[in-house]
């Protein structure tokens, strides 16, 4: 079970350190191997989209990076530093929660079902992290939050509780809430899957805006192939817990090499 950790660098250094690196990462649920020795690099500012059939491990990739799941093997590096490991006697060992929290400040996540705090207003949701975690004054946090709510077109609804907002509105608030923490990496897990078709563009427009205006690194799981093709720098096709094929959107969608990629894309396009 114990892995030889000497093969993993203590930190990543050099000119082109990736913002996120999965090195040899394995995830198991009991006997079920969900991710098998995954290697994946994401460059600073890059928008990487993950597509693939249900159960192929897409969500698990994001959840491991958000530390919502433990990993069973390998190392994840964020901004050059190991996420859940620290160095001791020249080797990587599991880190304590203090280290994890320090690295985790660089990561933000939006969920399929928004997960806004129901007992706080839209503004309260956005201010919660900056005030309680970053220690900003209420005034600073409010300023920052209002700016972001304005960016996602939700400034007018600042005093509403989530139960009085539509799905599209809730998701936009959730994006503002995550951005208020000023993460370097944003994770989007099927953020439009729970939305009615007519409001999907409310949310995709916000993400489009982020691609243009911020130096954010983004990892997005989506079933919307058109959107993935339009905004990604790179698309990864997951199959059975591994990357079956990856490349630029043009290459992957128009010239897929692997049989499984072709089958998947045909099936998805048929369904639409």
């Amino acid at each position: 079970m114990t892995e030889d950790m000497s093969r993993y660098p203590l930190r990543l250094e050099g000119d082109d350190v990736p913002m996120v690196r999965f090195q040899n990462v394995t995830k198991r649920y009991g006997p079920l191997v969900v991710l098998d020795q995954l290697d994946l690099d994401v460059s600073p500012g890059e928008m990487v989209t993950i597509i693939g059939p249900s159960g192929s491990g897409k969500t698990t990739v994001l959840r491991m990076l958000m530390t919502l799941e433990t990993i069973n093997g390998g190392v994840i590096y964020v901004d050059g530093e190991p996420l859940t490991h620290v160095e001791r006697n020249g080797q990587l060992v599991p880190a304590n929660s203090k280290h994890v929290r320090r690295i985790r400040t660089k990561i933000g996540m939006c969920f399929q079902h928004f997960n806004l705090f129901p007992h706080m207003t839209a503004l309260g949701n956005c201010m919660e992290g900056p005030v309680q975690v970053l220690g900003l004054s209420r005034r600073e946090a409010e300023e920052r939050s209002l700016e972001l709510l304005d960016m996602v077109g939700m400034a007018e609804k600042r005093d509403e509780h989530p139960s009085r907002l539509s799905g599209g509105q809730q998701q936009r608030v959730a994006i503002a809430r995550a951005l208020a923490m000023r993460p370097k990496v944003m994770l989007f897990d099927e953020v439009t899957s729970a939305l009615d078709p007519e409001v999907i563009s409310e949310v995709t427009n916000v993400i489009r805006h982020l691609v243009g205006a911020h130096h954010l690194t983004m990892l997005m799981v989506t079933h919307q192939m058109g959107f993935a093709k339009e905004i990604s720098d790179r698309v990864c096709f997951f199959y059975n817990g591994a990357i079956e094929e990856q490349g630029t959107p043009t290459k992957l969608f128009e010239n897929p090499e692997r049989e499984r990629t072709k089958q998947f894309l045909n099936a998805v396009l048929d369904a639409n």
């Binding site: 530390t67 929660s97 996540m109 806004l116 705090f117 129901p118 207003t121 919660e128 975690v133 923490m181």
Partner: protein
């Protein structure tokens, strides 16, 4: 002697007793809430020793009768050097006992907050303490208010037992009146009415109002 005359003669004592019952009830409720939150959280601890201690507490206080616990606290603890005033022993016993039931309500409510809420709090990088106090407990509070409504009524009814260690609450006064007058129907009839009125027209409306207020704060109403 008519019932009116009965009330004229004994009403003062019964009113005094009622005041004491209400005070015992309020203090027992405070103890029960504190115990419930403490042991409810301990039941969810990752540390097996803490979890085990809470489980033992809940098992003992739910598994034996309130009357026996009351007698233990008042008659047995002094043998081990812990002397409690009967007034304190009274509400303490009721509070400790009902708190054990409350702990299960706290635990259940915390577990029924959707996991997405925990995950969102992690994604905001909150400490586990902030997660609990800022995100989970406020929502758990709303979830557990309706069952607490029942438990609080049980606390009120449970305080009647403190008469048995001579706390001069309503039940104590009623028994004294019964012994000296033999007017059992009037005496215990009045007790019945006072306890019912307290429960039905004071406790229940307060709990309802609290439920309403909290669900409005969470934006549900």
């Amino acid at each position: 002697m008519t019932y009116i005359e009965f009330l004229q003669v004994h009403g003062g004592r019964m009113a005094d007793g009622t005041v004491l019952t209400v005070v015992q009830f309020l203090l027992a409720t405070v103890v029960a809430v504190a115990v419930a939150v403490l042991f409810g959280l301990m039941r969810l601890s990752r540390n097996p020793a803490i979890r085990g201690a809470a489980t033992v507490y809940v098992e003992i206080f739910r598994g034996t009768s309130l009357l026996i616990q009351l007698f233990w606290i008042f008659f047995v603890l002094p043998i081990f050097g812990l002397n409690l005033d009967k007034f304190v022993a009274g509400f303490l016993a009721v509070g400790l006992n009902m708190g054990a039931y409350g702990a299960e309500l706290v635990r259940g409510a915390i577990l029924s907050v959707p996991t997405g809420q925990w995950e969102a709090a992690v994604a905001l990088n909150m400490t586990s303490r902030k997660r609990m106090w800022r995100v989970i407990l406020p929502q758990a509070f709303v979830i557990m208010l309706p069952p607490w409504g029942n438990l609080v009524i049980e606390i009120l009814k449970g305080t009647a037992l403190v008469a048995l260690i001579s706390v001069t609450d309503l039940m104590f006064e009623i028994r004294q009146i019964n012994i000296s007058t033999f007017m059992s129907v009037q005496a215990f009839g009045t007790a019945l009415i006072v306890y019912y009125v307290l429960a039905r027209f004071f406790v229940t409306p307060v709990m309802r109002a609290l439920e309403h207020f909290m669900s409005r704060r969470i934006g549900r109403a």
